[in-house]
């Protein structure tokens, strides 16, 4: 048969040695990977138990008639899409509209005031002293709990409360304004509180974002003879677009989940005429009798809307990354190479 040459044997040894080294490397990497799984296990378990299973259950029960009356349990009986249809009949769109009204009434002033404050505080020519102090002061209202605020509002805006007394003594009004029992009154209170609690946060975000704009761009604008207004409109504002978008979408998602303020202010009833009933308050009403079916269906609707909004947020954040150059690509490439090592 064929003679085995020394060179061939050497070649085979070399190959075997290489294969051994490769196996060893793979094993080591695999070993590291196992440890990685081990350390991330707690998160996934917690997620599975407290998020994943409840979410699946929520979706499952949304197709069932399932609630308790007193101590009597009704269901679960499969009813198909009945819950989804009856929840649409039950003024779901009205509560969505209420939620949007609150969001608009709070968000627009929030954005305008935040922009104004951020522009003032970063303007080198205004030379505002104690900027850090103002930042803290603006953030403070958001630190106070909504329930504490509500108690304050109950006292201040009661028919015989301080605000009405003040307005009456100034002669601005003759009869007290019924803040808690009129449509405009309750909307005003909820929007005002939302605005107060959130404008500090968005101001800080905008401040950080404006500080990130290279001073040279603004300066060259001034050197080219721009007025301050022009610098703001044509240099600062366009560069804030992603942040404004981010604030808008996150506040919209938070707005969809609006619950505590109107719940406490209207005692969970959303009155007058349910104009202060938000989607989550409505969900809460169904939860009071453990109506898993209806609240499941409502949650699925909310999930879909939030999902769409989240998708928009990701798109916006993507825009943000592209704006600042090649960073995302580099990020994308590097992990790929690392993964390549573990692959064949």
């Amino acid at each position: 048969m064929a003679r085995i040459s020394l060179a061939r044997i050497r070649k085979r040894w070399k190959r075997r040695a290489l294969e051994k080294r490769e196996r060893k490397r793979k094993w080591r990497l695999g070993h590291q990977k196992r440890w990685g799984y081990f350390f991330t296990l707690p998160f996934f378990l917690v997620f599975l138990v407290f998020s994943c299973i409840p979410i699946v259950d929520t979706i499952r029960y949304s197709f069932y008639e399932y609630y308790t009356v007193g101590l009597m349990e009704v269901g679960p009986t499969f009813v198909g899409l009945d819950n989804y249809i009856s929840i649409l009949d039950a003024e779901l769109l009205k509560y969505l509209w209420n939620t949007i009204v609150f969001w608009l009434g709070a968000f627009l002033p929030q954005l305008l005031v935040s922009l104004l404050l951020a522009a003032w505080l970063t303007d080198a020519r205004l030379l505002i002293h104690g900027r850090e102090f103002f930042k803290v002061v603006m953030y403070l209202p958001g630190v106070v709990m909504a329930s504490a605020w509500s108690v304050l509002l109950f006292t201040l805006f009661a028919d015989s409360g301080a605000v009405n007394q003040l307005l009456q003594s100034w002669g601005l009004i003759l009869e007290p304004i019924h803040f808690f029992t009129t449509v405009a009154g309750i909307r005003f209170l909820v929007c005002m509180l939302l605005f107060l609690m959130n404008f500090g946060n968005s101001t800080l975000l905008l401040l950080a974002s404006i500080s990130g704009i290279p001073a040279s761009q603004i300066e060259s604008g001034f050197l080219d003879g721009c007025s301050y207004r022009q610098v703001f409109w044509y240099i600062i504002l366009p560069r804030l677009r992603p942040v404004v978008g981010y604030i808008m979408i996150t506040s919209l998602i938070a707005g969809l989940q609006l619950f505590d303020i109107p719940q406490i202010l209207t005692n969970g009833k959303g009155n007058p005429g349910r104009v202060a009933m938000t989607l989550i308050m409505y969900l809460n009403r169904h939860l009071s009798n453990n109506n898993y079916g209806m609240s499941g269906a409502l949650s699925v609707y909310l999930f879909l809307v939030s999902g769409v909004l989240c998708w928009i947020v990701y798109r916006l954040l993507d825009v943000d990354n592209q704006y600042y150059g090649k960073v995302p690509e580099a990020r994308k490439i590097r992990p790929k190479r690392r993964l390549g090592g573990t692959k064949e």
Partner: protein, 466 residues
């Protein structure tokens, strides 16, 4: 090398064990979410023959605990944190006190464990408020009092309505310690100004039926006062005099004519300015109306309300400026019942506690005098009422016990049901927009229908009278 291999295996084993364990737990918790509620259809019978060491007592007010600690003669001592009460025979009572808002939820959790084999897991006695007592009774959670040895002859001195309200299939299932008959409490100063007298008998004559009540309301308005504070003030007076329960067939809410009368009256009072338009009782404005600057003539209040709440709200300036009369109709407001859940394991002790707190005339009489409560014993209360020394300083010496006693014997509580609490809450809030003039009667009716269907999905129809 051997060590690393072991380590690796160990890690794997631990990881696997943790994974399986947690998945199992999660599956269980997933099932638990939809678990059966207390007293449901489970048939597994726990071993009730052996008594546990503790008597578990669920209450929604501290005062119940103090009644037992202070008046039950078998009490030996109380632990420092008041969580346990030790009895002379070595048994101890474990107190579970929850506030009213969370009480039913917590109680339901306890009742789920009522099938447990460990006797100390199961509760032995519980407090139930009138608005939701029937919910527990009709769910079959409570055992008849005769089963723990309390016979009808033991409770014959209790006020009839307290027994009627807690009767299921002809058997009394709950016993009440306190009675809460209601009266109309009014300001003497306003009565003098408008009616020319503050004498309770003459004032009673002026408000003895709803027509006369309205006439007085008109006079109040002319003098710049309000007859009542708000929308819910007279609600209990009407709702206690309903001719049938809210729901009879678990499907249809039948609005009683008495409720329609309340709606009509409240609307008229709001439009005419006879009331101060407070949305509900126990709101800030409502309590302010009872204060020294209040312009409201009177409030429908029951025993605890007059003896404690009103005294507190009226303050020092109002002390002595109040009096009570029977008003247009008898009513009660807010009493509680003791009930023994099934599978309880201390029948002897519970029987003894209940006999002491709800049937023992001497102890109850002492309780009433010490604590200013109206106890559920006709003899004891009649004796106190007849005593010439009886009188309330807050009411300027008036003997209110005699009036309470009279009303208590005329209360009719046959029409309690399991939907009372929800219907009461929803009707008051659904109609508040209508009373304020912000919506029409039909809107208000629709709002109630919607609210009730959300609360009780099985109630698909609401029938309005006329």
């Amino acid at each position: 090398m051997g060590k690393t291999a072991w380590n690796r295996k160990g890690t794997k084993a631990v990881g696997l064990a943790a994974l399986t364990g947690l998945v199992a737990v999660s599956l269980l918790s997933g099932c638990g979410g939809g678990g059966k509620s207390g007293g449901g259809g489970k048939t597994a019978m726990p071993d009730t023959s052996k008594e546990g060491e503790v008597i578990n007592f669920c209450v929604y007010q501290e005062v119940t605990k103090s009644f037992v600690n202070d008046y039950y003669p078998e009490v030996e001592s109380v632990s420092d944190d008041e969580e346990y009460t030790y009895l002379k025979d070595g048994t101890k009572i474990h107190w579970f006190v929850y506030n009213s808002e969370e009480y039913q939820e917590k109680l339901d959790e306890h009742l789920k464990k009522q099938d447990s084999d460990d006797p100390d897991e199961r509760i032995d006695i519980m407090d139930l408020e009138g608005d939701y007592m029937r919910k527990y009774l009709e769910a079959g959670v409570c055992i008849p009092m005769s089963e723990i040895g309390i016979q009808d002859s033991d409770i014959e001195k209790q006020y009839a309505y307290t027994k009627e309200a807690a009767t299921l299939n002809g058997k009394v299932c709950g016993l009440s310690n306190e009675v809460a008959p209601g009266l109309f409490a009014y300001r003497r100063s306003i009565a003098k100004d408008v009616l020319g007298t503050d004498d309770p008998e003459k004032v009673q004559e002026a408000v003895s039926d709803w027509t006369k009540f309205d006439e007085v309301a008109a006079k109040m308005k002319d003098k710049g006062y309000y007859m009542l504070s708000g929308f819910a003030d007279a609600y209990r007076v009407f709702s206690n005099n309903m001719s049938k329960p809210w729901v009879s067939d678990n499907q249809t809410v039948e609005i009683d004519p008495a409720i329609m009368d309340w709606i009509k009256m409240t609307k008229r009072y709001s439009d005419e300015g006879y009331n101060h338009k407070t949305i509900n009782v126990f709101t800030e404005e409502w309590m302010k109306d009872q204060g020294p600057d209040g312009k409201v003539f009177g409030f429908f209040y029951s025993t605890w309300g007059i003896n404690f709440t009103l005294v507190g709200n009226a303050g020092d300036e109002g002390f002595g400026d109040w009096a009570v009369c029977k008003g247009p109709q008898p009513f009660y407001w807010g009493a509680s019942w003791f009930a023994a859940p099934k599978n309880m394991d201390h029948p002897e002790h519970v029987k003894d506690i209940l006999l002491t707190l709800t049937c023992n005339k001497e102890i109850m009489k002492k309780m009433s005098i010490d604590r200013n409560t109206f106890v559920n014993n006709v003899d004891a209360m009649s004796e106190i009422a007849a005593d010439p020394k009886t009188g309330s300083d807050f009411l300027n010496g008036q003997n209110h016990i005699a009036l309470f006693n009279e009303v208590a014997q005329n209360i009719n509580l046959k029409n309690l049901g399991i939907y009372d609490q929800g219907c009461t809450l929803d009707i008051i809030y659904s109609f508040s927009d209508y009373f304020l003039g912000n919506s029409t009667l039909d809107d208000a009716k629709a709002a109630f229908e919607k609210a009730i269907e959300e609360r009780y999905p099985n109630l698909t129809e609401v029938v309005w009278p006329e």
